[in-house]
Symmetry: C3
Subunit: 319 residues, 3 copies
């Protein structure tokens, strides 16, 4: 696994939350919170990253995450270039590495990489010169670290604690990088009661998600939960045999108002988007008073500003 | 219909010119004119929109209008993100609204939307928080308000008045958002003599374009006209049966030098581009001394700067 | 051929290196070198082109050259718009010209054009108003002037001279704009011994590349060479009959360590990228101690900064 820290202990890459310490996560959340502004207020702007260049390498041109990273970088004064590239480790990874070496030679300071193939961000990170950082913008089913941070930040904003919380993660956990990064973050930050609820084919294999409980029915997972994280059905990652029918899935696993009533009255509802409304979540829940789904988006740009500033300016100032 | 004005009377959205008052149109044209510079001079630059974020949502990546809005925003100091998205009101508009709520949560101040489906910009505008503006970049066959403003500005620059002018609109009026917005602007500004000239299948239905005269022959429409607006044959909007053959269309409806001679000697020739040269307009007319087609492009960016500045900075300063 | 210089002798367009004088090339190289920074250092940044607008017109969205031009412009303070357009001289070039006239009317100062059709950059340049510049970003098989400059700069950095050098150009020379621009630059700058080595179908026709020697075997071309420029097999430009099989090509023409040993011990290895590793070049040579391939990339952005600054600010200051 690629080392994420510099020899001085500062954060160089962000590929996964799994190996970060609780103190590092707390530091990133604190910095993220400083970039949060209420809806309608001006977003924070600075020149902290003036003269720096960020390259967004996404396989699709128009994801929300790309826009979030792009605006985060621009609001810190950095220059941004977007590349729509299909990285791939085939052919011994050589042509992929040629592409990233080119960006390095163009004096790019950080590469944000979203890729459908596991291992690509780490492979890139392992080959770049020491002054270049890699931020994962979502890696296959493996990891989505900025999403995990924004989920943790969203929980903390509403609960002001992690200890003692019960969090239910519902849906297609097996194929979800979002679930994995949320689990990494929340468990490290002190959430002891994480519940995984999904039909058998969508639950992760047994040796994953250590410390979480597994639920074959939604009701037991939701019981007195403080937060419910609903996942998107990742149809594109499923073989046909696994693919649940939308209507039948909603009947058994969709988060409705009735089911949400099983959770604590102040439970929050989260979703990483894009939502399949009427499949994994009812529209009135998605738009209801317990939904913090739009907060997650706002927190996402705050987290990305914090991470960019951390990796590009923290060198040498860590203990 | 979505309200375009804030409670204080200032302009929040620009979806259509139809409901704007003459005073509002004149104010926008005056502000637009202040951004006009001659070819070869430096364009105006300011930081009036520093700290603001504009998102361009276009279904195709490379339209002239997208570039015009993008440069208008950047020259006022705003940050711009481009998204290539296919908005659609299907599925009760929910997934479309999730996309725009995401942009709102990212602290985007204005969305420029071009969409092939009528009603989309208004639907979006009706759902966003009060501090977010929507500017139409062209809505189906319905409306193209910045085009209507630039057309009016182009006429005014050359004629220094609207009253007493005769304007001929020629070609595929039925499918044209350009014609509708020009009609809204020019009639409200005082052009009483607006002539629609097209083959029967391309004329609008009878209850549209109130106050305009209809011409089944080009000659009567051009007679002593002060301005001739030639429209693009919108082949992509036509069913096969409607589709005129290019050569035959040119023979009957193409604007040639001979036909242009029927208009006033100082008549101006306009076209919204892209042109089908040799179909709706002869090349020597498009490039001739009476053509103001390139002025329209320059006026377009001036209009978009004016509109962006108006919606993003006028709050509270209107009477 | 379109004139590249203004009446005062300053550089207005950069379409080809063929007609530039040695003094002009040296001036551009000198300016380029001033923008070179070592890997890991901050790239040079200025506001020399503040208020200027550069449009990148590339037929594909994500080429390295587009990113290089985009960052070059941004680091000089210019605004950049990217357009993905398929220019074409069909239909008498009229619709292509309408597109570029539109950009001119939007107060764009320079157009960077990459096109697969020979003659397009020159045709555009010949029609624009005098204050607008065209920079070729690669024109069919004809010309790639910024690549030729970066190749010359790379050679000079390592050899500190041009006179007396032997340069071998190896591979698909017939279809290569890179080879043509390198030949233009290097021969004008004083490299007398330029060797072309390729299988017969990939050698240029006889009346091209005056002054170069032709080699039917790699060994004779490499003998005591100071620099070896390996070209990409341009499979997309070849008809099937011409297309060499990759493995057989590598066996006969691939640059291996053994073959490179025929050149001088301090010979440098160059490649314009993207590389077909294992076809025209062995991976251990591409990544080996004699390779300057990544330097070429860094030099590319320096050259593009120099050229942009030259064409946009040199007016009137040339003798």
């Amino acid at each position: 696994m690629t080392e994420q820290l510099r020899p001085d202990g500062s954060l160089r890459h962000l590929l996964t939350l799994e190996t970060l310490s609780r103190a590092q996560l707390e530091r990133l959340l604190e910095r993220s919170q400083s970039f949060v502004r209420p809806l309608g207020a001006r977003p924070p702007m600075s020149q902290a990253l003036a003269g720096r260049t960020i390259a967004n390498l996404f396989t699709e041109p128009s994801t929300r995450t790309r826009v979030s990273f792009e605006l985060a970088a621009k609001r810190l004064g950095a220059q941004v270039v977007n590349l729509e590239v299909q990285l791939s480790s085939r052919a011994k990874g050589e042509s992929m590495l040629d592409t990233v070496y080119t960006l390095q030679s163009l004096h790019v300071d950080a590469l944000v990489i979203r890729d459908a193939e596991a291992g690509v961000p780490g492979l890139v990170a392992a080959h770049l010169a020491p002054h270049v950082s890699v931020l994962s913008g979502g890696e296959a089913h493996v990891s989505h670290p900025t999403q995990g941070l924004l989920d943790a930040l969203t929980v903390y904003q509403r609960k002001q604690r992690f200890a003692g919380l019960a969090v239910a993660i519902v849906g297609d956990i097996r194929h979800s990088r979002v679930a994995r990064s949320a689990w990494h973050a929340l468990s490290k930050l002190g959430v002891a009661d994480i519940r995984l609820a999904a039909p058998p084919t969508l639950l992760p294999v047994e040796d994953e998600f250590a410390g979480c409980t597994r639920h074959a029915r939604l009701a037991t997972a939701l019981k007195d939960a403080d937060a419910v994280m609903v996942l998107r059905l990742q149809r594109e990652r499923m073989t046909d045999a696994d693919l649940p029918d939308g209507e039948r899935y909603f009947a058994a696993w969709g988060l409705t108002r009735e089911r949400l009533a099983l959770a604590r009255p102040d439970a929050i509802v989260m979703h990483p988007q894009p939502m399949n409304r009427g499949i994994e979540i009812a529209s009135d829940v998605a738009d209801g008073p317990q939904s913090v789904i739009r907060d997650q988006v706002s927190n996402g740009i705050a987290v990305r500003m914090a991470v960019l500033q951390e990796v590009l300016t923290s060198r040498g100032d860590a203990a």
